[in-house]
Subunit: 396 residues, 2 copies
């Protein structure tokens, strides 16, 4: 079997775990943070640079690649790995999140979703079977069930969407034909603990090699997100990886690892980098700030990333203010290095039995940003789908 | 003396020469093509990548850096080399070309030029003394005299501008205080052989360590450009490097090396790369063309650049069509590699006595583009100053 999850160590004081995910394209040490390569490229970064900064898994988007250049094109070129020159593990989402983000541009039936392309307005149809077929053409190591993403605060809709997600999960499982890809189920159910528990139990009964928690980080509070994980994760099998979709701020990663999550992905580090917002251990630094005009220091003293080992805050500020591509590259490299390195330290701490200390110490110094949730709400996601994620390197 | 030009070999059949330009930041083998780093960055490319592809000299723009981030900022950060992380030789232009491109935004007097910033409309003043002071703050290895760029077809204006350029050249020479920078004079005179000869004689009398031919590639025909070089270059001292400003297509480089030019710079390879136009030995390939959608080949078989050794035309087309930053990086790397490598081969051929053969063979296969001149006329330059060169990575 080409896909296997090995649990190596469980933390005593939290639900944190360290493991290894074996895939046809290599081993992914978990916990893991996956940089997002929406259009078969992590924006501005080369595959070599991703390897160098320690990325062990990247995500690509089924919706975007289906529309452009087309899954058949990528299949003909040898699949996603060869197409984009990344020979490490890849995960593709199912496109469910994107087509449901299209709001007025989609129509949902039991069979699937008819939607219009954000690129040219052309009409398309995604069903569970179609989406599995596309993901098999793309050829990622980990593929996802087609799910319905509801407004997490609307209980009636959340229930309907969850039930449809379950029926679609069964259809996805039936539709797959490749044995070298792991298909993950996605738990839905909005902010409602009862629905989340139902969803976890149902999906577990289908016996997937991994489980995702979907529909979070879309407008609920941090407390709600934590509560849902505390209800859901204990119902998922211990010997399968658990993936929290679309989450990836430093503080969220720490809190969610503590609640038993193994895998994360998020556009946050790359998107905010293009706006000049840079991770440091005391919080985010906005490199556009005039105070950095003559600052000869690196973004953060002691950081070993490419950017910090070569360039000053003053130079980075200049590049970002002048909309220079190199600025977007260098800030992106720093933010990805920061997160990937944080997750590596988290894993080492779990193995050493010191995860809680690391978490407490990090959070004691790190100033979080209150409007984080707003930034990642549904409306912003829709906007980003139409603009930012398809155009480089515009601001949010 | 930290600056020295050594002539190593003269071609028998043409005026081509191979030499070495010694600067405080290293030796530049000539002929040389200098990639343009307008805002202290060659658009999208890192200093490491520039070194790797063989660049030995880069150009930065006094006008742009004076406005943003400010020459005093760069001086405080240790000068341009340290600021941008490039420890090889740098040349700064004088800003003359840019301020005269501003058309209605400038007012010229004998003392200098008052102009408005293309960034925020603020008013500034460049005189020969001011421009030398700025270039001394920036700290490039080679700096340029402040010159007046006239409409090359207007004889009266060309004469006036040339005469002022001569007076300003003398003032620049007087104004300089640093001994570790080489100040080049700039020959002007439009398309008028008589004026060009006058200008070459006058500037030579001031004894500069190098001479540029300015005011070309701004709307004249190729034949006019060649004729001017044939009139001008023989009047320049043999033991000084000759720099043709703003010229850099493969065919122009070959023709102008044959006429005795040692140094080139041009935004062409980087700018057209961001539009998807890629150099090959049979002419330019437009990667946006639908015929490349499923093409698994590199841009050019046998090319050893980073891009061609890793990525297919299909992937590059996808990236460029999707406005992905990595696409602009990879196409830029290829075009720069192509030109730098061509100039390296030219130099080797001069040394081997086979330059004419290389030139004939290259031009026999390379399909040139007729609208080239139009693309680089004055109007296009003004537009580019306002848009393209200050915004990444928009199309022309």
């Amino acid at each position: 079997m080409s896909f296997q999850f090995t649990l190596i160590h469980r933390d005593d004081r939290t639900s944190a775990r360290a493991g290894e995910l074996h895939t046809p394209h290599g081993v992914i040490p978990t916990p893991v943070f996956a940089p997002v390569g929406t259009q078969a490229t992590v924006k501005s970064v080369s595959p070599d640079e991703l390897r160098e900064l320690g990325a062990t898994l990247i995500l690509a988007n089924t919706y975007h690649l289906y529309l452009r250049p087309g899954a058949d094109v990528i299949a003909e070129l040898g699949g996603l790995h060869r197409f984009m020159g990344w020979d490490g593990p890849i995960l593709t989402d199912s496109g469910g999140f994107q087509v449901f983000s299209l709001e007025h541009l989609r129509r949902v039936t039991e069979d699937g979703v008819e939607f219009r392309s954000h690129i040219d307005g052309s009409t398309h149809f995604f069903s569970p079977e179609k989406v599995i077929g596309i993901q098999e053409q793309l050829g990622a190591d980990i593929i996802m069930c087609f799910d319905e993403c509801a407004d997490p605060h609307d209980e009636t809709y959340s229930r309907q969407a969850m039930e449809r997600t379950h029926r679609w999960a069964a259809r996805c499982r039936e539709a797959r034909t490749r044995s070298d890809q792991a298909l993950f189920g996605i738990v839905q159910g909005g902010i409602f603990p009862d629905l989340r528990r139902q969803s976890a139990r149902f999906l577990t009964s289908l016996d997937f090699p991994g489980y995702a928690v979907g529909g979070l980080s879309v407008g609920e509070t941090k407390e709600q997100m934590h509560a849902i994980l505390e209800e859901t994760v204990p119902l998922l099998p211990e010997d399968r990886p658990r993936y929290l979709m679309g989450v990836g701020s430093p503080e969220d990663i720490l809190e969610c690892v503590a609640r038993g999550i193994d895998m994360f992905d998020c556009v946050l580090p790359t998107r905010i980098a293009r706006n000049g917002a840079l991770f440091t251990h005391v919080g985010r630094l906005n490199i556009r700030n005039a105070q950095f005009t003559r600052d000869p220091r690196p973004i953060e003293e002691g950081c070993t990333c490419y950017t910090c080992s070569r360039f000053s805050r003053a130079y980075l500020r200049h590049l970002v203010m002048a909309d220079e591509i190199l600025g977007f590259r260098l800030t992106t490299l720093h933010n990805l290095h920061f997160l990937v390195n944080l997750v590596r330290r988290i894993r080492a701490a779990i193995l050493a039995g010191t995860f809680s200390d690391l978490k407490d110490e990090f959070l004691a110094h790190y100033r979080t940003i209150d409007h984080e949730v707003r930034m990642f709400n549904r409306a912003a996601r829709v906007r980003s789908l139409r603009k930012d994620e398809t155009r480089a390197p515009g601001p949010d």
